[in-house]
Every structure is written in structure tokens, then in C-alpha cells.
Symmetry: C2
Subunit: 158 residues, 2 copies
């Protein structure tokens, strides 16, 4: 498959596994202590071999309950809070976004051939997982600054 120059090409993905945890409904805060197990689909068993030697992994998952509506979401206030600025969907981490991709870096608790158990994943039970990547500080850890609203927004997230 090659997308070169095909501006509206559809991209088809399949889950590699599913999240299992005790969170049944969406929430905007207090994810820090949630323990989740990602059950790998059978074809991907042993795909996490070696991840036990990393402290953190990035979980890429599909926000199937989210829905991007251009008029509501192309620009919005994070968490629809009046004390937040009106910013573009690509300038915030809101869930109602194009392609509904969620990404979280989480602590690895345990790994085996069929599953990965992590702490702090902000996904509800049965969420489809699209990819798992080891966290490389050289890629992922940046001397970054953010606008002041982000600190206020994330105050109670974990």
C-alpha cells in the first residue's frame, strides 16, 4: 500500500489487543493509580518480549466512544472549561479528535507472552489497543515548556 499523493486514502487498522481494567465510564481526572492489563490478540503473543527491561511504555489506543464534530471540536476549550483558552484540537489532548487516537506513557508493572500490565493508563475497560512502544527518553523526553493553562488543566488528572 502506498499513499503517495492520494490525499484522501483510507487507512485501515486492526486492534492488537484490548484493555482490561475496572474503569467502565469516561472520566477526566484521577487516572494515576489505575492498573490495566492489555491482553494481546493471539497473533501478537510474545510481541512484548523484552519490554520487562523498560520502566515505561507508550500505549496507543482507539477512543471508540469519542466523536469529532468539526463545528464543536476543531477549536474548543479543554474540558469545556470557561477558564481554559479556545485552542485547536491539535493544541490539546481532548478525546473528541480526528482519528480518535489516544496515547499515554505508563509504568510497566509486568509482562508475559500474552499480556502487559501497566499503571496509569487513561483508557476504559475493553478499549482497543493499536500499538505499544517502549518509552525511549532520547525520543520522548524533552526539555519542554507549556502554556500556563496546561498546569491548571492537569492539576487533578493523576
Amino acid at each position: 500500500m502506498n499513499l503517495r499523493g492520494l490525499q484522501m486514502q483510507e487507512i485501515i487498522m486492526n486492534p492488537i489487543g484490548y484493555v482490561k481494567n475496572d474503569v467502565q465510564t469516561k472520566k477526566d481526572v484521577s487516572w494515576g493509580n489505575e492498573v490495566s492489563t492489555i491482553l494481546l490478540n493471539e497473533e501478537y503473543h510474545t510481541g512484548c518480549t523484552g519490554l520487562e527491561n523498560f520502566s515505561h511504555a507508550m500505549i496507543i489506543y482507539y477512543l471508540d466512544k469519542a466523536a469529532f464534530q468539526k463545528d464543536q471540536h476543531l477549536q474548543r476549550r479543554p474540558q469545556n472549561r470557561e477558564d481554559m483558552p479556545l485552542v485547536g484540537i491539535f493544541s490539546q489532548r481532548g478525546k473528541d479528535r480526528p482519528n480518535r487516537i489516544g496515547i499515554m506513557t505508563v509504568q510497566i508493572l509486568s509482562v508475559d507472552d500474552t499480556s502487559l500490565t501497566v499503571k496509569g493508563l487513561d483508557a476504559i475497560d475493553n478499549t482497543a489497543v493499536l500499538d505499544i512502544k517502549p518509552y525511549y527518553p532520547v525520543y520522548d523526553r524533552k526539555d519542554a515548556h507549556v502554556p500556563e493553562w496546561v498546569d491548571r488543566l492537569m492539576e487533578h488528572y493523576f
Copy 2:
């Protein structure tokens, strides 16, 4: 759309824009100084408003030239180097992976209504972009450790 319990549900995505840079072929090293402009598809113009107040963004893109073949890639040595351990595809950042999702955190150089210009993106010219997220240290910056092979692997990446 709801995936709950549908183990093999297909997920359909569309590019939000495309990478424009001077890199025409894949490479495994020396991405650190590449400047890329992401041209947003028209329906997503103004979606990066406010990103100019962040230093870094995560670019989520589609590795359309990659191909996952279970027998070759479910477990492999990173960059096929003999001095690298045999690890699962979800324990490395290799491109030939299920769902072909690439993620890189990059420095933001400039933002306007139609495009985002960044430094250090490891994607070639015309790569489809699936999402852009602001880099939140509280989400993305971890006190992480990695196995010693990662430092050897990434020595010349940037």
C-alpha cells in the same frame, strides 16, 4: 462506532495532513536537524491554533512504506543489528510493526492556520499524518530507564 467485544473490528482512519520535507528515502540515523512542514488538509485548517505556545508536539504518522510480516518482525533485533537483542516488536521502535503507526516528539518552529513546521521529525516527504498532540510533560515526560542496548542503538539517531 463501538468496538466493545468485537475482537476483529476494522478501524478506518484518514490523514489530517501530509509531511513536506527534503527526505525522499528511509534512513535509520541523523534525523535531528531535519525541518519538516506538515500541511493540514483544508478541513483541519486552524486546528493547530495555540500550538505556538508549546515548545514540542507529538506527531503521529502512518508508515506507509513499512510492512509487518509476523515471521520476520514479531520478534527481531533492532535495526537487524547482531549486537542487539532479539525482542518483540512492541519492545522496540522498528517501523515494520502492526498498524504502522510512527510517533515522534519534535520541536515546534512555527504554526499558522494551514501548517505546522517542526524540527527533528523522522518521517519522509509526503508521509500521511494521523494526529498532532501538544507535548505535556505531565503525560509524556517520565523518570524512565531503558536497557543498555537502547543507548547503543540510538547513538547516531539524532
